[in-house]
Subunit: 367 residues, 2 copies
């Protein structure tokens, strides 16, 4: 049981019922289940159906099969647990009928097409409305207790990096490093990792989402580490590109450009600015230094999910508001040669951005 | 790169094009992406779109955004990598048009309703057909190289349990035990865990899918451990219910009943029998011993996914065939008191079932 105040969260969700003329909302996204109820859906569950929340103006229910009923009752003591024995199309129609639901909000970006179309057929009198874009904003501006939890995850990530910088030696494999950092998180109070760590040596660092392998940390190139943990469900995400021994000057120049781009982005951050503009600022610094800018976005929101709104990228306008927490992660990728990325988490406050990750941003040399 | 022979797998997938009058197949399920191409999608990716396979009679393509293009080229060297910059509805229509696709097979149980309906609108001349139930059987009967990989994962799981039985002491927390077993897997050659381990002490063992907590291993009750690992992508899954010191006689009787139920299920396994019947055999043994039988199914198939076809449960008829690999896991749950489950993995061969997990099935006493 955590101390998060869920009453205002539920009130905001019920507000959507009125705004959109709905009788009930079905909540399928794992992070939203936890946000509204405290129920911790397993991330690796095959289907989103177990533990679905069903919320009307006066009922709060968790639909759980027998594997989850006891857990749901413990984690979400104020919620009514309804036992399910089949899938959405089998079990939901009688519940909708019991609650006189004619218009139902759902998460079309989570519910599969098979589930949605099955329900549409089995409950043919009920209108199904996609509400993803309406629910997402409820988690967009973080409450102080959420910023605090993200901050604790970030502090643990800083401590982990400090340990790694002392611990890593040339000749270790990417997998050994990935394992050491995961072990650090788990033995220092994290719930787990925020995502599968990206630990890439040398030329392999040019893969923005590469998977750690048996490749070894070698002097004369970089070791890129992109990692994070979860504390009370809230995530951290940080990238550092360490220099292993002495690296060629061109890699040093690329690191300087990325660092400068990130600082320019920090300087451009303020309430009311558009994420696209901040992305452009960082991109231009890299282009001016004579490098090809990163192909991904500059940043992403973070909270109960590692990637959530807002998005700071060329293709997506997003006006930044107080309470938003997001990454700032420019990079330069030189296929066949190396990759550089620096990533930090910031919370945007009335007074400007405040960094939640605080590891050194200059190139650290190891080995 | 693993040595799996993917040519017959691809031929079988293309066979579906003819059988169902399709021009192309879109493969979105992570396990299927790896099965057909070798591309390892990240399990924790928010969307199934990155790394989607697009297969026609003469093309094999991986649709990947810039984060994955290099990885896809390395892991699936025979496949053409097509760079995507947007979502399914933005990027797929021109590809469909280039390949003259009029009828497209898709996985409705993976693709979200938002993606499906977006594509249906953006490519209005293309018929979309759900092919989940047609693709799943292709992975149902395991080839010898697959049984070998599952067997290696199971052997590592046996070795891990032997270590745990020596290592666990009363007073340790569930999380400490969960962490130790994960560390064992990762330092002994596994890719990772097959799923989040279930480690439950005492009365908490009555939650079939409970999450490990700070609760401590205490004498006089059980410690239930349900865990598995992945080797070359293939999974293991095993449960043992250890006795911590001396336990009340009723718990011993429940363990005897579960073990007897599992043995009766093994004895009932043969080619051509229905999974429902085997489930009923185990269930009846437990009822005859005076306990309430488990609320879940007796077993589930396992391979590149921890839970896949066939299902051995009351509600689902499934005729068992040679080459199928699945769990056999009866249990007894006494809410507020304790839980007992024994789970092993078997491959069904011409000569009968062969156990791939081989840890002792009698109650082991620890502490």
């Amino acid at each position: 049981m955590t101390g998060f105040d869920r009453a205002p969260r539920l009130a905001a969700l019920r507000g959507l019922l009125d705004t959109h003329g709905l009788d009930a909302m079905l909540v399928s996204r794992a992070a939203n289940k936890r946000y509204f109820s405290g129920f911790r859906a397993m991330d690796d569950e095959e289907s989103s159906w177990p533990g679905t929340l069903f919320v009307t103006r006066d009922a709060t229910c968790i639909l759980a099969d027998s594997r989850y009923t006891e857990q749901a009752a413990i984690e979400a003591p104020d919620w009514e647990v309804i036992l399910t024995t089949g899938g959405m199309a089998q079990d939901l129609p009688p519940i909708l009928s019991d609650h006189d639901v004619v218009a139902l909000g759902m998460e079309a970006q989570i519910v599969t097409h098979a589930e949605w179309s099955g329900l549409a057929e089995a409950a043919s009198g009920v209108e199904l409305h996609a509400m993803d874009e309406e629910i997402a904003p409820l988690r967009l501006r973080k409450a102080p207790d959420e910023v605090d939890a993200i901050g604790r995850a970030c502090a643990l990530t800083d401590a982990c990096l400090a340990h790694l910088v002392e611990w890593i030696r040339p000749g270790m494999t990417e997998l050994e490093v990935a394992w050491e950092l995961e072990a650090y998180f788990r033995t220092h109070g994290a719930e787990g990792q925020a995502f599968g760590s990206i630990v890439l040596a040398g030329a392999r660092a040019s893969m923005p989402h590469g998977v750690p392998s048996e490749a070894r940390v070698e002097s004369g190139n970089v070791l890129l580490i992109d990692f994070g943990c979860a504390v009370d469900g809230y995530r951290s995400d940080m990238t550092r590109t360490l220099f292993v021994g002495e690296v060629p000057g061109r890699i040093g120049l690329a690191h300087d450009a990325v660092r400068e781009a990130q600082q320019a982005a920090f300087d451009a951050l303020e309430i009311g600015v558009n994420g696209q503009e901040v992305d452009a600022v960082a991109r231009n610094v890299i282009a001016d230094a004579g490098f090809e800018p990163y192909g991904h976005g500059l940043g992403h929101g973070i909270g109960l999910e590692t990637h959530e709104a807002p998005s700071l990228r060329q293709s997506r306008p997003y006006t930044l508001e107080a309470g938003m927490v997001f990454s700032v992660e420019p990079g330069i990728y030189l296929p066949g040669e190396t990759g550089i990325r620096i990533e930090d988490i910031v919370v945007l406050e009335e007074s400007g951005p405040r960094l939640l990750t605080n590891s050194p941003r200059e190139a650290q040399v190891i080995g």
